[in-house]
Symmetry: C2
């Protein structure tokens, strides 16, 4: 048993546990909602959002993986499944024969347009509606700062 551990005070413990519960519950609710009400999962949604943000709806696997913070193998597996459902297609890359593009299909665009209002409404009613603008600002600042720290110091 280490004696040098900086254990949490009870305030820290309480805040941390609440925060963890929030993540579990909110994340669970949102993805369950998307899953059951639309036909895209939270992961599908994230992919489709990025593809609609980009010219022609085409992006390299690696770029997509970097933006979503996914492993490349996860991207391969997931895109293969999405392609099977017709939401995207895989396209070979001419400039670099190793590479490949993910391209959103019409069905993909239709799926995300159908899911987006639902998702926004859920984010509002499950979260934003219960948080003041000042709190939201604080939360945004904390999130950005911590994410930056995590990026600085890779595991």
């Amino acid at each position: 048993m280490e004696n040098s551990v900086r254990w949490l005070t009870s305030e820290e413990q309480h805040a941390w546990r609440s925060f963890v519960r929030l993540h579990e519950k909110l994340g669970g609710r949102l993805s369950r909602l998307l899953q059951t009400e639309s036909k895209v999962s939270a992961a599908d949604f994230a992919v489709l959002v990025h593809l609609t943000d980009v010219p022609e709806g085409r992006q390299r696997y690696q770029d997509l993986a970097r933006e979503l913070e996914w492993e490349k193998s996860r991207m391969s597996h997931h895109i293969a499944r999405m392609a099977g459902r017709g939401l995207v297609v895989r396209e070979d890359c001419l400039e670099d024969a190793r590479g490949a593009f993910v391209v959103i299909t019409e069905a993909g665009r239709a799926a995300i347009e159908a899911a987006a209002p639902l998702h926004v409404e859920a984010v509002r009613s499950l979260f934003l509606d219960h948080v003041t603008p000042a709190e939201l600002r604080t939360l945004g600042e904390i999130s950005e700062r911590v994410v930056a720290k995590l990026d600085e110091d890779p595991s």
Copy 2:
């Protein structure tokens, strides 16, 4: 296309996306750390924490599932795997022959005592160290309030 959707303002959008990224990154880091440095996963850790909080280290499947917000089938599968690794044992319930207890073993206690300092240190260095006490208080309040709302209104 619905016209009545209350789309997010750019401030809301920014804060929300940062928050989601924090969720993804911090969760990923913590569970990866636990996984590689100790021999218990984040899920194992949560189970063991609850069992050490309770008399004799025994608790019913359903109670454990409720506290962790897990599905009962997840609990069954996971406890079966943990039992296979000797961290817990399953025990029949005398009062209700349908029910069963999960009981932490000595090996389970040893595992969590080994993992706890590491976990606390990670929570500090990856998160708490980058947040002021005031921010942490705000975060705790937000979390509690939103969790309460989510509990009120079941999906």
